[in-house]
Structure formats: C-alpha cells, structure tokens
C-alpha cells in the first residue's frame, strides 16, 4: 500500500478546515449495520464472512465506485500498512487483526469509510473536519440508504438496527467530536468538564487507544445511548454540549492570556523552540509540544503555521506513518530520531 493512494496526505479529518476548527479537529458519525439473513460475526462461518466481504466489496468498488482506490483485505496487508489505517482512524485496532473476511474501504478523501466484518458486518463512518455533524450525517445517511437498498439490513421495527452488541442497537449510531482543549487542561478545569459531561450520558476519552494518555490535549466526546432517540436528537444533544465546551475553552484561553500572559508566551515559545530543534523526539513528547504550538498559533502568539502543516506533522510522525515516509522499518529509538528530523525540516521555514 502506498501513502499516495490517499488523496490528501492528511485526510479529511486533518485538513484543519471547517467551523470552529481552532478547537474542533473533526466530526465523526459511525453506523453499525448487519446484513439480514446472516449470523453475526461470532456465529458466522469463515465462508459466510468471506461471502459478505466479497459482495459488499464488489458493490463498493464497482457499483458505488467511490471506493475503488482504497479497498483492502486485512489478510493482504503488511502489519505496518494495517497500522497506517489505524493511525488514520480508518479502522479500529481490533479490526487490524487480519482475520478472514475482514476488509476496509474508504473514499480517496477519507470522508467516508467502511469496515467490513469488524464487530458487526458493516461499520460505516463519515468524517468532516471542524464541527460539521449535520454534513457528516447527511453524507452517511445517503450512503447507508443506498447500502440498505442493495443488501437488506437486519432490522426490527421495535429495536431498530440489530447489532451484535446491545449497546449499539437502535440507531446503531455513535457520534463523536474530537476537541483540542489545551487551555482547559492548563487551568485544570478539564476534570470538572469531564464530570459535567458524564452526568449527561456522554462519554469522553483521549485520542487513541494507543499509549496511555489523552495525547496532545485531544479529547473525543461521544454519545453512548443509541436506542430510543432519533439520529437528529442524538446529534442535537451532542452538538449542544460541544458548543458549550468550545465556549468554555475560548474563555479559558482568554483568561490565561489576561492573567498569565508572560508565562503563557514563554511556555508556548519554548515548546515551539523544542519542537523545531530537538534531535530525539518521542511520539508522546511530540504530541505535547505540538499541542502547545497549535495553541500558540491559534492565539497569535507564535508564527502563523498553517494547520495543514501541523496536522501533517501530527499524522506523518506516528510510528507506522513515519516508517512509510522513510520507507524502511525503524526501531522505536530510530523512530524518535527520524521524527525529530522530519519535524525540523517541516518547521525550518517558520521562526
């Protein structure tokens, strides 16, 4: 698999455009669907799963056509390639295990994606950069309707779309928004925010399953109730909360500037200096520094580095991507060196 197969080196969610993009990285909607007349994954035979993969795959590549460029069977990809897809959020970590019948498809701009035979037969997702839940919904709604006409879903008027796990039944929908909240982390208000959000039945978590931290002050807010509410209501509720969080983060940014201007400027410039001149840089440290630099450019304290450059640094220095960029396998130590080299080159023009 070549990285050039992706239309944009940073993909839809890292474009850094769209409403509220100084805080909202991306909006994502996922639908869980199963095909009528088949067992769920745990009870389906290998043959049955491969049949599903082959007929859905043919539909996506040939009938729909938008997925012709990016369609992969997990069993046919190298480990690094599978991790590239995980790092791009096109597949889950679980899906990267190359079991029979597992495949993924995405449009060239990565705004629509499908996992075939993950936990359900189909997990389809729609991505937009910035806060664009309605646009994401519209795109996935149409795509989903097309699929249902072609294949016929396991659906009950009573319980909705039937899923392998009852936590997803009903709409089968998970809506999540990824937010960059460095000021709320600095002012230590993030904890309060988490508590408030969890009281209203939404979940908050860090960026990746990988590693151990909420990397780079990035948080995902999502619904976990999928039954008994319409898709529109679920989206409205989440959007309402996210709008509140954005206002909260804006206020925190203003407050740290008005009360601790010099310290803030010093901290952000130091992060910029370290990011620009380090010789060895772990992924974790990079995320930490990049978060500060992103904040610094948003607050007009640091030079105006375009979001695309920041996003490319973010994505292309993840372990699997970095190995694709240098085109060889790297030990973790060698990765930390190559990561620093890559970032120095990217940021050389900015001072």
């Amino acid at each position: 698999m070549e990285l050039s197969a992706f239309e944009s080196p940073a993909g839809e969610w890292l474009k850094g455009e769209g409403p509220e993009s100084d805080i909202v990285v991306s909006s994502r909607i996922r639908l869980a669907r199963n095909l009528a007349g088949h067992h769920f994954l745990s009870r389906a035979s290998t043959e049955e799963l491969q049949d599903i993969e082959s007929s859905v795959g043919t539909y996506l590549r040939e009938d729909d056509g938008r997925f012709a460029g990016l369609y992969f069977r997990m069993s046919e990809l190298s480990e690094i390639d599978r991790y590239v897809l995980v790092e791009r959020h096109l597949i889950s970590r679980e899906h990267s295990v190359p079991e029979p019948g597992r495949a993924m498809a995405a449009t060239g701009d990565e705004s629509l994606g499908v996992m075939i035979n993950e936990e359900d037969h189909l997990r389809i997702q729609s991505l937009r950069s910035g806060l664009q839940l309605r646009e994401a919904w519209q795109a996935i709604d149409d795509f989903d309707t097309g699929l249902s006409e072609k294949f016929g879903y396991a659906f009950s008027p009573r319980w909705g779309y039937l899923t392998a796990c009852p936590t997803n039944v009903g709409t089968g929908m998970r809506v999540s928004v990824m937010l960059h909240l460095p000021a709320l982390v600095m002012t230590q208000e993030i904890e309060k925010l988490f508590r408030a959000i969890s009281k209203i039945n939404l979940a908050v978590r860090g960026l990746y399953g990988e590693g151990t931290q909420a990397y780079g002050d990035l948080y995902q807010v999502s619904n976990h109730v999928s039954l008994g509410r319409t898709e529109e209501k679920i989206i409205d509720a989440l959007e309402g909360v996210v709008t509140g969080v954005i206002a909260y983060e804006h206020k925190a940014r203003q407050r740290i500037l008005s009360t601790h201007r010099l310290e803030t400027e010093d901290r952000l410039w130091r992060a910029f200096g370290m990011l620009k001149s380090s010789r060895v840089l772990s992924s974790e440290e990079m995320m930490h520094l990049l978060s500060a630099v992103r904040l610094g450019t948003c607050m007009n304290i640091l030079p105006a580095i375009d979001t695309r450059t920041l996003n490319e640094i973010f994505l292309l220095t993840q372990p699997a991507h970095l190995q694709k960029v240098v085109d060889r396998a790297l030990s973790p130590e060698a990765r930390d060196v190559e990561r620093a080299v890559f970032i120095r080159e990217k940021l050389a023009a900015f001072s």
Partner: protein
C-alpha cells in the same frame, strides 16, 4: 484528572457500571486491565458482559436456557460474551433483552431511521420511552408549550395502558 486506579497517568476513560450507577476515571492502561477493550470509538460492549446479571426468577432461569433455533446461542453464552449470535436473538430472548436495553439506553423502543422499504410504524412510534425522552429534550430546550403537550400524551398513553 489522574487515573483513579494507578494515580500516575492521566485518566481518559470513564468506566461506568450501569447496574450500580457508579463510575470511575481510568487511564487507558488500567482500563485495559479492567477488561475494557479500547476502540477508536467508545464502546461499552466489552465490559457489558459484567453487567448482564444472572437471571433471578425461575421463569428467567428457564429463559436463560433457551437456545436460538437460528444460531444455537443460549442466553448464558450471550451473558459470558456480551455478543449475540444472530439478529433473531433479540426476539428469542426478548424478555431478558428488554430490561437490559432499558438499563443501557433508558429505552426499549427504536424511534429513528428505518431502512429503505420498511413500512412506517403502525403506532406512529408513540412509545412511552420515546415520549419521555422528547419531554426531557423539550424541557431542556425550554420549549414549555411542547413539553406540556408531550406530558398530556404521556398521561393519555398511561391511562390507556392501565385501562387495558
């Protein structure tokens, strides 16, 4: 916030036991140790297994031994894995599934999108739980006139049910 288990790493996962309504914040490492498998999307599925309590009444014990004729799964097997074997299982185990759905979602009725070609719901989807959630939304949005109307609908639905 720091992980409430190891107290060393930053917490990023909220783990809720739906049954006891208690919650703790964990770092991803500790969450994994707790048996929560992390996904790129939050999923409560993997620790759901722990929430599905053993059936209590004799009737439920009998139901738990039921086998789905389509896929052969029993409710006990579903309990241990947290995953159904086929779409038919919702119907086969409906008496056990409904209370579970209510615990997870606070509702037992779908009110959203329907696949192309599905006939519209006969009762116009006016189930009690859907109305309750609509009421909640209306109150939150301070749409009090709507809220009053929904409250009336709920009342008439409840009257009908108790009359039947």
């Amino acid at each position: 916030m720091m992980c409430q288990r190891c107290k060393k790493k930053r917490a990023s996962v909220r783990v809720t036991d739906v049954a006891t309504k208690t919650e703790i914040w964990l770092c991803e490492e500790c969450a994994q140790k707790e048996g929560v498998t992390l996904k790129s999307q939050v999923s409560l599925a993997d620790f759901l297994a722990g929430l599905i309590k053993a059936p209590v009444t004799k009737e439920m014990a009998r139901l738990a031994k039921l086998k789905c004729p389509e896929c052969g799964i029993t409710y006990l097997e579903f309990q241990s894995k947290g995953r159904f074997g086929c779409p038919n299982d919702y119907e086969v185990f409906s008496k056990l599934v409904e209370p579970l759905l209510d615990k997870i979602h606070g509702s037992t009725r779908h009110v959203g999108k329907r696949p192309a070609g599905t006939p519209p719901p006969a009762d116009k989807g006016a189930s009690l739980s859907a109305l309750k959630s609509a009421l909640e939304t209306a109150v939150k949005a301070e749409r009090y006139e709507d809220a009053a109307k929904i409250r009336d609908e709920i009342r008439s639905l409840k009257d009908k049910e108790s009359g039947a």
